[in-house]
């Protein structure tokens, strides 16, 4: 398929850079310091967007997997792979930043809390998903199997999200996506968080797009020549035709 220039040209990169800059300014300079946690709380503006966009990436894996199973088009498979790689990176980032945040605030790097354990399991499952992709040589076989795993693996995401609601954990319950109507967060902080999410999402789209292009170039297969119409020999065999 011919490479079409990205719609809007440099629009997306510009938007991503602008949003990142705005998020940085909002998070570091504009947003007030948290009354309880002090400066460590500013990690939230990276930790939470990383976690959310990781969820989003895994949702993209799910959608692309289903799309592949319907259409059998390797484009969807490449998108699924790129999204899974991004999701793994962001999940690892969220865990790492969470540890950095937990050390000064909770007092420990790590603890056996339902949220922490389920998030780590989520990371492992998607690493295994990437492994399943390598188990077959034929791209369609690999795509089909990993699509099946991609659908099943997504079941972990609600478990991670609800772990702090279902169980009594050290990790605090969700602030924004919680069951209550009005999030208990200062409006300026909420804006900084929103800017972070927008910036992460735009950057994620950029990264996935680049990666998909790279995968397409790496796995480029010459387009199969469609058979000329009527080229297929027609053979009809009925009993008694032989000698």
């Amino acid at each position: 398929m011919p490479r079409t220039p990205a719609p809007g040209g440099a629009l997306l990169p510009t938007a991503a850079v602008t949003a990142s800059g705005a998020a940085l300014v909002l998070a570091l300079l504009v947003a007030p310091e948290d009354a309880v946690q002090g400066p460590a709380q500013r990690l939230m503006y990276v930790h939470v967007p990383a976690a959310w966009v990781a969820y989003l990436a895994f949702a993209a894996v799910l959608v692309c997997s289903v799309a592949y199973l319907v259409r059998r088009d390797l484009r969807f498979d490449r998108c699924a792979q790129a999204a899974a790689e991004l999701g793994i990176g962001l999940t690892a980032l969220a865990i790492g930043l969470g540890m950095l945040w937990g050390r000064p605030v909770w007092g420990v790097w790590w603890t056996w809390d339902a949220r922490l354990v389920t998030t780590t399991v989520l990371l492992l499952v998607y690493v295994a998903y990437l492994g399943v992709r390598r188990m077959a040589d034929d791209p369609h076989v690999a795509a089909r199997r990993s699509a099946a795993v991609g659908v099943v693996a997504f079941l972990n995401v609600p478990v991670v999200h609800f772990s702090v609601v279902w169980w009594r954990t050290l990790h605090q319950p969700p602030t924004v996506l919680g069951p209550e109507g009005s999030p208990p967060i200062d409006p300026v902080m909420a804006w900084a968080l929103a800017a972070g999410v927008v910036a992460f999402t735009l950057l994620a789209v950029l990264v996935v797009r680049r990666r998909v292009a790279g995968l397409r170039a790496a796995g480029a297969e010459p387009a199969a020549v469609p058979p000329a119409a009527g080229a297929a020999p027609v053979i009809t065999v009925v009993p008694g035709g032989g000698r």
């Binding site: 009354a35 460590a40 909770w106």
Partner: protein, 137 residues
Amino acid sequence: MTRPAQRRRTLSLRLLVVVGAVGGALALLGVSGLADTLVYYRTPTELLAEPPPEDERLRLGGLVQVGSLERVGSEARFAVTDGVATLPVVYSGALPAVFAEGQGAVVEGWLGGDGVFVGDLVLVKHSNEYRPVGEAG
């Protein structure tokens, strides 16, 4: 390859079943009272109602009672409350910087026979509220 329309139909049926199953499972978990099963820490009320064996290591969680914190040398004494019951805690070691009266905390240790909780690790459990300085409630 040849029947995408048919495949889409069967696949959407299968997805529908999965979505239904996940929805049913979430609803079931919502009403099952799972919240009391996997607990990271126990509250003073629970510990007083069901005193654990003396050698059992456990976690006690709640709010640090306002006015209860006193430091003697390297030892800190404070009380953890859940609004109903209160347990005195003795802890020797450095408290986390964020630790404060009126804030959530989880203490790891043992409940002594004298009803005093002997902690050897203090974790701060912060709430899901984020407020600027001066506005904290």
